[in-house]
């Protein structure tokens, strides 16, 4: 039982990080209707920017983190301006954009492999201090992961309540209406990509600090984010959090009952179950018939 509690605590910490990843992915998917495969590559890239700033630049962790967030946000904005926007303007189908995004992700991954190699990169550090709460022991890094990710997620949710950010939520539903109400679509699209990429940098830096990362990790994190959003329900942002925590806790249960090597299956199994039995997601919107 103690092991289960420990694993659940680990799951909740992971859930906080997955939640932040899911928010970034969900923002892009809901508002731009783009299945942003390159999001995973962006996540890894920001982790390696952090790694470089800390190990080569000698920057303190917090400054390196801010540098990584800024770089990632800039890369996201550039991706929109130079990659997704031209596709949107030419009315390219979303399936073609998905394939193009996959191509971009592969290209970025290969460039990073050339630059950083295929080995796991980790920031050298000593043993982390830990805190014991009854049967559960959490390292200081885990506590920092949970606290930082939860704070950033709360800040993003507060941001989304601002009237100017409601446009971001409306965009996915009706881009033409956004324009006919006097709002610049390209500007808001860039804002979304920049914000999402900046958000992804936060868990990326924290994972890099804790266990390190290799350049090929992007796809697995992307899948977790995508499953969390689809399982929680694309239409409602709180669902993305629920989906993320569900994936993380289920992974812990699988480790407890079976083995850590089956954790990868959790995301797929959850996605299949949701798609089969509750297509709109756990907290999806119930639509009137005429809403289609």
């Amino acid at each position: 039982m103690n092991l289960l509690l420990q694993l659940l605590a680990n799951g909740i910490v992971n859930g906080a990080m997955f939640a932040l990843l899911a928010i970034g992915f969900g923002l892009v998917y809901r508002s731009l209707r783009v299945f942003h495969v390159a999001y995973g590559a962006c996540f890894v890239l920001s982790a390696f920017v952090y790694y470089l700033l800390v190990t080569c630049g000698g920057w303190p962790w917090w400054l390196a983190g801010l540098g990584s967030i800024a770089t990632s946000a800039a890369i996201g904005t550039l991706m929109e301006a130079g990659f997704y926007w031209p596709f949107y303007r030419r009315r390219i189908s979303s399936e073609a954009v998905l394939v193009a995004s996959l191509g971009l992700a592969i290209m970025l991954e290969n460039v990073m492999a050339l630059l950083f190699g295929n080995e796991v990169a980790a920031i050298p550090r000593g043993l982390s201090q830990s805190v014991t709460l009854g049967p559960v022991r959490l390292t200081m890094i885990q506590i920092a992961q949970f606290a930082i990710c939860t704070s950033v997620a709360s800040a993003v949710f507060l941001l989304l309540r601002l009237p100017s950010f409601k446009i971001v939520l409306g965009m996915g539903e009706n881009t033409e209406l956004v324009q006919t109400l006097g709002h610049s679509l390209p500007r808001y699209r860039m804002l979304v990509l920049g914000l999402a990429s900046g958000i992804a940098a936060v868990p990326a830096c924290l994972v890099m600090t804790d266990v390190g990362m290799d350049v090929h990790a992007g796809m697995s994190y992307l899948l977790i984010a995508a499953v969390a959003v689809l399982a929680g329900g694309v239409a409602r942002a709180p669902g993305w959090l629920l989906g993320a925590y569900l994936v993380a806790v289920l992974q812990s249960v699988v480790i407890w009952k079976f083995s850590a090597k089956w954790t990868g299956l959790v995301a797929f199994a959850l996605l299949l179950a949701i798609l089969l039995f509750r297509r709109e997601g756990l907290v999806g919107l119930h639509k009137r018939k005429e809403e289609g």
């Binding site: 939520l169 409306g170 006919t180």
Partner: protein
């Protein structure tokens, strides 16, 4: 009121891919004009409005709004310089609440201020449902919300694409009544594309008839809208 041209359209052609819809339209709209554009389905009425808003790109011709060329201007900028446009369908964010819809429309300001207050006063069905998701509103309530959203920003010219299509007679007359109040309060010119001519006749002072992408009649005798034989000469199957 000093009369001045707010919109000038000269030799405008536009269409979709290989299909030319507007065939050299020229039109002046003054600030006291309330124009009804009528014509058979597919004659280019909605396309004209969409081309003015640059939602459909023009092929040739010029459009100027208060002496500013707008035919290549992005739609959002056209709105910000004072042209409001009510889309025929999909004119609210169905997944968002009524309040969120209005916030977006008002340009990210709170729903306060004289203008917002007046607009909401004109649409009590909207004011009383601020927390309701827009997708759950009835057709009439949704059109009221859509019109309120367009008018949250100051406009000099309002383009309405079939605003009462599909509405019940009571919902249609309620909407037209609200529009009348808003016109008197904010004094903007308007261009309305509509098939239900009896409903809009009291609101307009100029009538334009289109056929095959061209203007075939432009008159201030709006009573002709109610003259079945006159309409029959210009196009057939006009629902009144």
């Amino acid at each position: 009121m000093t009369l001045q041209n707010v919109l000038q359209v000269q030799s405008l052609t536009s269409g979709y891919r290989n299909r030319v819809v507007l065939q050299g339209i020229s039109l002046d709209v003054c600030n006291d004009n309330h124009i009804a554009i009528i014509g058979a389905n597919g004659c280019g009425k909605s396309t004209l409005l969409r081309t003015i808003m640059n939602l459909v790109p023009s092929t040739t011709g010029e459009i100027s709004f208060r002496e500013t060329q707008i035919e290549r201007m992005p739609t959002d900028q056209i709105v910000r310089i004072g042209i409001g446009y009510l889309k025929q369908t999909e004119n609210v964010f169905r997944q968002l609440s009524v309040r969120d819809n209005l916030s977006i429309a008002s340009g990210a300001k709170a729903l306060a201020g004289e203008r917002a207050e007046f607009v909401l006063d004109c649409f009590p069905v909207v004011r009383n449902r601020l927390k309701v998701r827009a997708g759950l509103l009835s057709g009439g309530q949704r059109q009221s919300l859509a019109l309120a959203m367009v008018l949250m920003r100051p406009v000099s010219l309002l383009l309405l694409d079939e605003p009462i299509a599909g509405l019940s007679p009571s919902a249609a007359s309620e909407l037209m009544h609200s529009l009348e109040s808003l016109k008197s309060r904010f004094s903007f010119a308007s261009v309305i594309v509509e098939h239900r001519l009896r409903r809009i006749e009291p609101l307009v002072n100029r009538l334009i008839v289109m056929r095959n992408g061209e203007i075939i009649d432009d008159t201030t005798d709006t009573q002709l809208m109610l003259d079945a034989s006159w309409l029959d000469e210009r196009y057939r199957h006009v629902p009144t």
